[in-house]
Amino acid sequence: MTVAAPSLRRRLLAAAALWITLALGVVGVLLVLLFRHHVEQELAARAQTQLDALTSGLAVAPANARVALATEPPDPAFRQPLSGWYWLVSVDGETRLRSRSWWDHAPPALPPRPPSRIAVDGPAGQQLLLWTRTVELAGADVPMVVAVGADASRLQGLTRSFAVTVSAALAALALALWAAAWLQVRLGLAPLARLRAALQQLRQGQATRLPGAHPAEVQPLVDELHAVLDDKQQLLDQARQQAGNLAHGLKTPLAVIGNLAQRMPGEDGELLRQQLERMGRQIDWQLMRARAAASARRTVATPVLPALDELRRVLLRLHAERGLQLQLPRESQAPGVAVEPEALKEMLGNLLDNACKWARGQVRVRLSVEGPRVRIEVDDDGPGIAPGQRALALQRGQRLDERQSGSGLGLAIVDELARLHGGTLELADADLGGLRAVLWLPAG
């Protein structure tokens, strides 16, 4: 057994899921970064405004050159202890002024000319972002550093809550996309499922062509398949034809040799006649098998009555001497069997011919449908076959009575053909006194 290739559906679904997850993940990260950046910008803008206010309020006392704040920034957050908003003014790394919000915590020491934005440890474990500005005031010999700080945890909190919201939204989107991908794969692969169902019909013989219209992507496959089927059918027909030609080509020479053997006296002549008869039987048997091999795989529904009608005409003609009565079932019973017409006629023809050969005056055919099978009963009023001899009658090449002409294959051929088509042949005693042959065939 070969290892099964990975399922197309699973592959498509896995690829879609992976791609959707990756893309949405990247989008989520980008959105959060963007949000954080945006919020930080907001904070920075607010801090700059405060810085402006602080800077404009700064003054240096001429007397002692001390820095003083003429007006404090109006934001009440600066006055509320540990509010998260702080300011300070430092000179030479030494804090000169600071907001009340620092409470009893010492603001960090700022170096002269620090970067405009730094992160430092704040009071009560807060992480502070400090925006600084270096200011040179008239009357002061060293520049002053003015700084406004904000608690970074607000920024983080906002970012986190935004990230949660965005994640939820993206997760929902991912689910929707996964569902869409699943649906798409399902719809996209539906023609393949239909193709499979069609192929199944084809294999079971309910169709000789793939039924239905197929999408442009699948149609070439269907066309190729039809081409392969045609090739196969052609090969089969050829093989059948060749078997037939071979058989028919042999029969005329056999007839010629047979006629010669007929005039040959003694044991040699007898031996030759026996061998010729065997050859004839072999040819008939193999020809029957070659025909059946091609037809037994196909399923059709062949009505039984018309076949019986045709054969009745032939048999009454062939046995015209006998003045036989050949009684067929009434019109209303018209079951069909899952056997090709030729094979059906071959079976019925042999059965009827056998019955006509032995009948004293009457042959009767009865039909019935029993469940999934059709029962075809052929009775005659001839001598019948003793129960012990019946198995022998079905054996290839057995002729129970040498006086009757024919290859002796009749009942054996019917038996074999019936079996090849999923049926059986049974022999019994007929009400009419002779043989009853019951042919069971699958209903069509």
């Binding site: 007839a255 006629n259 007929q262 003609r317 062939l318 015209a320 006629k345 042999n350 002409s405």
Partner: protein
């Protein structure tokens, strides 16, 4: 009784011709469908043995064309095609009998005799007329219970007359059914055969109808 055998295989054709002649028939042969079709229409045969797989024109078409043209003589299909489907086609095309190759020559002869007998309205192989009894199976003649030997030509003349008892059979008609096409058709020899037959049959059994031909004695039946 005159037969046409249409068979393309030379060896079989010769065997058929010889065997059927031995059985008392006058036999014409054709080796292809076109010749066979022509002969079947222009010559008067009592029965035809027709192969199906023929060159020129296949046997089934020949048969259909004969039947379409009103040729009503019995036709026996002698063919390698032995499936029942093929038998149905053959019979439906107008064949009267069907024999599959390989076959027994005796069976062919028996079937041909039966066909000819039925075609002339006789159901029984024994043709009886007064004390004269002709067995068309065994080709034997009995007069008042005594076996009488006949030559092939004598048998054919008597058999034709017996099959068509009750009407006048003309000289040319009798010649057509007694001789094969390529035989020496001197119709005077018919008088010789009739004369010989008369010696073997009861007095006045075969009557001469002057200027028309022969007829069997009405009173004898």
């Amino acid at each position: 009784m005159r037969l046409l055998v249409v068979e393309d295989e030379t060896a079989l054709r010769q065997q058929l011709q010889a065997a059927l002649q031995r059985a008392g028939f006058a036999v014409d042969v054709a080796a292809d469908g076109i010749d066979g079709e022509h002969l079947g229409v222009v010559e008067a045969f009592d029965a035809v043995v027709l192969d199906l797989g023929l060159p020129g024109k296949d046997g089934l078409s020949v048969l259909k064309s004969w039947r379409a043209n009103g040729m009503s003589r019995p036709v026996l299909l002698l063919t390698a095609r032995s499936s029942w489907q093929e038998k149905v086609l053959g019979i439906d095309a107008g064949a009267d009998d069907y024999l599959a190759k390989p076959f027994q020559m005796e069976e062919l002869v028996a079937r041909l005799r039966a066909l000819i007998r039925r075609a002339s309205g006789h159901d029984h192989p024994l043709l009886q007329r007064g004390a004269v009894q002709l067995d068309t199976r065994a080709c034997t003649l009995r007069v008042a219970g005594q076996a009488v030997a006949l030559t092939a030509h004598e048998y054919r003349v008597l058999a034709y007359l017996m099959h068509h008892a009750g009407r006048v059979v003309s000289r040319s008609e009798l010649a057509e059914h007694v001789y094969a096409q390529d035989a020496d058709r001197d119709s005077n020899t018919l008088d010789v055969f009739v004369a010989r037959l008369r010696r073997k049959l009861p007095e006045g059994f075969i009557l001469t109808v002057r200027g028309m031909g022969w007829r069997l004695d009405e009173a004898a039946s």
